[in-house]
């Protein structure tokens, strides 16, 4: 699953390069692991990734207590993991994280689909600190820039907005907030309380960024 993701990002980097030889915006992938067993096999991990043709610029071996610091030192803007507790730890310390879900339906391999989900039920104490709003906004702006390099149709990158519980007006303000942060969404779904599970196989995101939109507001 993550491998497909990496390949997609690699492809996107290539296309970005195609668009403009001086392209500075790129997806830079850092592989981080806190599993001590894996760390002992560090060299085999590195060669394995090379073997599979995965473009990874940096490897980082940390332990569970301070992996978030490693993330921060490496200027990681988005942390992808399938481990829920790791994700929430990172978020609490101000690093934007997203869960890689294990879905039955495999997402398309020709388009990276990023879902932004407005979660009306975010606890106030697990949100990112205000100081990091800038970081998130910066990341959003860069993502938006990358998207703009591609055309509207046939893009290798696609943004999806899903508002689960709010009314259409809250969806409208989410659209506007994202837009002012630089992200113009391609697909939008306002569920107004309808269950999300039946449409997940249709949405097919590679990962979901859960934010409350006050994170992006000034």
């Amino acid at each position: 699953m993550a491998r497909k993701l990496l390949m997609l990002m690699h492809e996107m980097n290539e296309r970005l390069q195609q668009e403009s030889a001086k392209e500075l915006l790129q997806f830079d992938v850092v592989l981080i692991t806190t599993d001590s067993q894996q760390q002992q096999q560090s060299s085999s991990i590195i060669s394995s990734t090379k073997h599979h043709g995965l473009e990874i610029s940096r490897f980082c071996f940390a332990n569970e207590e301070d992996f978030v610091e490693s993330l921060q030192t490496n200027n990681v803007q988005l942390f992808l993991t399938s481990d829920k507790s790791e994700a929430s730890q990172a978020t609490q310390k101000g690093v934007l994280s997203a869960l890689l879900d294990h879905q039955e339906a495999s997402p398309p391999s020709d388009q990276l689909r990023i879902m932004f989900c407005e979660d009306a039920i975010i606890q106030p104490d697990t949100g990112p600190t205000p100081a990091n709003r800038e970081a998130i906004q910066g990341f959003a702006a860069q993502l938006g820039e990358i998207r703009r390099r591609f055309s509207l149709a046939d893009s290798p990158l696609c943004f999806i907005l899903v508002t689960a519980h709010g009314s259409k007006d809250s969806c409208a303000s989410s659209l506007l907030t994202l837009r002012s942060s630089g992200i113009s969404v391609d697909e939008a779904y306002c569920l107004a309380g309808a269950p999300r599970d039946p449409i997940m196989p249709l949405l097919q995101p590679h990962f979901t960024i859960r934010i409350s939109f006050s994170d992006l507001e000034e």
Partner: protein
């Protein structure tokens, strides 16, 4: 042309004994059709309640906003081009491409669209919802109107602004940015899908979802604001196209023969039978509260079958399905236009473009159900009616 109501059929022919007309769905026995019409006109004059602006929109239940669950509600999905008029924007898209189209939309974000052909229908659905909420405040058995479009989300703000401008109670929507919306229709148990795109409508029908292509009527006619009126053709809409096949292959005589021989065999169901059923369930909720005479939903069968012969099979089938239709109009081949003009339905479903176009010419809001054998004929004589 014979105009008949369900009551009169029993009187006419001895053969109809098995029909057993139950306490008529039309309330107390009214004689001719003309009388009914007057009754309705009085009714219209009386109650044009201005829809209350406060308390009609997001209803609060226990601090949260109340939206019905898709499986409990009657879900009606409409596309942008039938709910609103987007002619100018369509032209931009066709002449200048998608990027220019989206730029145009964003530029005009604060200009609401004008109402489209499905707009009166949606307003009427909301009027019914208002009445249902009065009688059953906690029930989720309501109409749930969903906007399902393969428009790009860049148009989202303009659509939401337009919905607000027209005071529509649409909270759910789905902008797929180009991919097929059919999956979402299925996921949300859609009971009816209305679109301007006949391809999408065909796809939906193939998936078992009631669907129809809507066309803008050529002139504006007034429809009731307090009573939802839905009219259906019989064959290939409520019923299967089996009889039409016979008619097209072997002619009228064979058709009559076949109908006579099979009078006691039920017709198979057509694509819109489920929707009629859903309407019937909501109607019963009004009857249960003593609102039979004042029911804000009224259904019509407008068929070329004739009452004395082929029509009987249609009525028997409806009876056996447990479906009541308020008025059955057997035209025995006469043109449907004038009859529809009298009924003024918010929507009329027919499988033949010939009838849909004829109706639109007279100002009836007609929708084409591209189902059954008639479509092969339609392909040849398809003139595009203004959308």
């Amino acid at each position: 042309m014979v105009k008949m109501s369900l009551d009169s059929v029993q009187v006419m022919s001895g053969q109809a004994k098995e029909l057993k007309v139950a306490p008529s769905s039309n309330g107390d026995s009214r004689g001719s059709w003309e009388e009914k019409e007057e009754f309705h006109q009085d009714n219209l004059g009386l109650t044009t309640k201005p829809t209350p602006v406060t308390g009609r929109r997001a209803r609060k239940v226990e601090g949260g906003v109340f939206f019905p669950k898709p499986e409990n509600a009657v879900t009606i999905a409409v596309s942008t081009r039938v709910l609103f008029r987007t002619d100018r924007e369509q032209k931009v898209f066709q002449q200048k491409g998608v990027e220019e189209y989206l730029r145009y939309q964003i530029e005009h974000e604060n200009e609401p669209f004008a109402p489209g052909p499905a707009f009166p229908f949606v307003k009427a659905l909301e009027a019914v919802n208002a009445r249902l909420r009065e009688l059953y405040p906690q029930s989720e058995e309501l109409f749930d109107i969903v906007l399902v479009t393969y428009n790009h989300a860049h148009v989202g703000i303009r659509l939401i602004n337009t919905i607000n401008h027209h005071n529509l109670f649409i909270e759910r929507f789905c902008m797929t940015g180009g991919s097929s919306p059919i999956g979402y229709l299925k996921a949300w148990h859609t009971n009816l899908y209305l679109s301007a795109d006949s391809e999408k409508v065909r796809e939906a029908l193939a998936e078992g979802i009631a669907a129809a292509t809507m066309f803008l009527p050529e002139k504006q006619t007034e429809v009731s604001e307090s009573q939802l009126r839905v009219a259906f053709d019989g064959d290939a809409v409520l019923f299967s196209d089996e009889s039409e096949r016979i008619f097209k292959a072997h002619g009228l005589d064979k058709f009559f023969e076949h109908e006579r021989d099979n009078e006691d065999t039920l017709l198979d169901h057509g694509p819109l039978k489920g929707f009629l059923e859903a309407l019937g369930k909501l109607q019963k909720k009004f009857y249960a509260k003593g609102q039979r005479l004042n029911c804000p939903i009224r259904t019509y069968l407008v068929t070329a079958r004739s009452a004395a012969s082929s029509g009987i099979r249609a009525l028997k089938t409806l009876r056996a399905w447990g479906l009541e239709i308020d008025e059955a109009l057997f035209l025995a081949g006469a043109p449907k236009g004038p009859m529809l003009d009298k009924i003024r339905p918010h929507i009329y479903f027919d499988d033949q473009m010939f009838h849909v176009e004829g109706a639109a010419e007279m100002g009836t809001i007609a929708a084409h159900v591209p189902y059954g054998v008639a479509q092969k004929h339609n392909a040849k004589q398809n003139t595009s009616v203004g959308k």
